[in-house]
């Protein structure tokens, strides 16, 4: 039951291997990768930044909550920080359980709570040269960088 922030690229096969358990009939994995678009804009790269000490503390709580709520055998989550190129792995969650329902539900809960609660921030770099911190648009001057452009016409 672990949660970790990693400045190094993630290796999903090695991460999954750490959860192998002969009692486990089911393994569910989630990968969040850098996709080439967001809300209609072409994305070139992402930058993730974390308040690592608190992120690992809050992440460990999230994994422990999932283990208390669902009958799982093991669970882990690792979130990458730094600059990521298109297609790179940003976050990985793996869960093992005897039966599949618990692994699916716990994996989903861990990624949902991680996105909602863990102090990690994402800056998108767009193909048009602009960039912006996601969820940080306001009515102030910083809003311009993250606003969705009007429909093409």
């Amino acid at each position: 039951m672990t949660f970790r922030i990693s400045p190094e690229p993630l290796d999903p096969a090695a991460l999954a291997g750490q959860l192998l358990d002969l009692r486990a009939g089911a393994y569910v994995e989630f990968q969040g990768r850098v996709r080439n678009h967001n809300e209609g804009r072409a994305v070139n790269a992402l930058e993730y930044e974390a308040y690592a000490a608190l992120a690992e503390k809050e992440g460990a709580r999230i994994v422990a909550e999932a283990a208390a709520r669902f009958p799982i055998l093991g669970a882990a989550c690792v979130h990458r920080v730094g600059r990521l190129e298109l297609g790179e792995l940003a976050v990985w969650v793996g869960v093992t359980s005897a039966h599949r329902a618990a692994a699916f539900e716990a994996c989903r809960a861990i990624i949902d709570e991680t996105k909602a609660r863990v102090p990690i921030w994402k800056k998108e770099h767009y193909a048009d040269g602009a960039s912006g911190w996601i969820n940080c648009a306001t009515a102030g001057p910083a809003a311009a960088a993250t606003a969705t452009p009007p429909a093409a016409h």
Binding site: Y51, W121, W133
Partner: protein
């Protein structure tokens, strides 16, 4: 007056122009300190969109500041 350490991340780091600083303030609570710094540095995030951590744990905005506290203002998160 209390002397506290601040660490900045993401949008607030960029708007402050640095990652951390030590400062002496007359603000009594974490919330008063955010208001003071928002005015001084032009932070665009309203306090309602920000959380605060004190000494490595999430804390309430009305927490009284004490000399030696480490504060982090937490912009809206966006992991994953």
């Amino acid at each position: 007056m209390t002397t506290v350490t601040l660490h900045y991340f993401a949008l607030l780091r960029e708007q402050r122009g640095r990652s951390s600083e030590s400062l002496t303030t007359g603000a009594a609570t974490a919330g008063e300190l955010y208001d003071e710094l928002a005015r001084r540095h032009g932070f665009t995030l309203p306090v309602t969109h920000v959380r605060v951590a004190i000494n490595g744990e999430f804390a309430a905005w009305d927490t009284t500041l004490r000399t030696g506290d480490e504060l982090v203002f937490i912009p809206p998160v966006a992991g994953g």
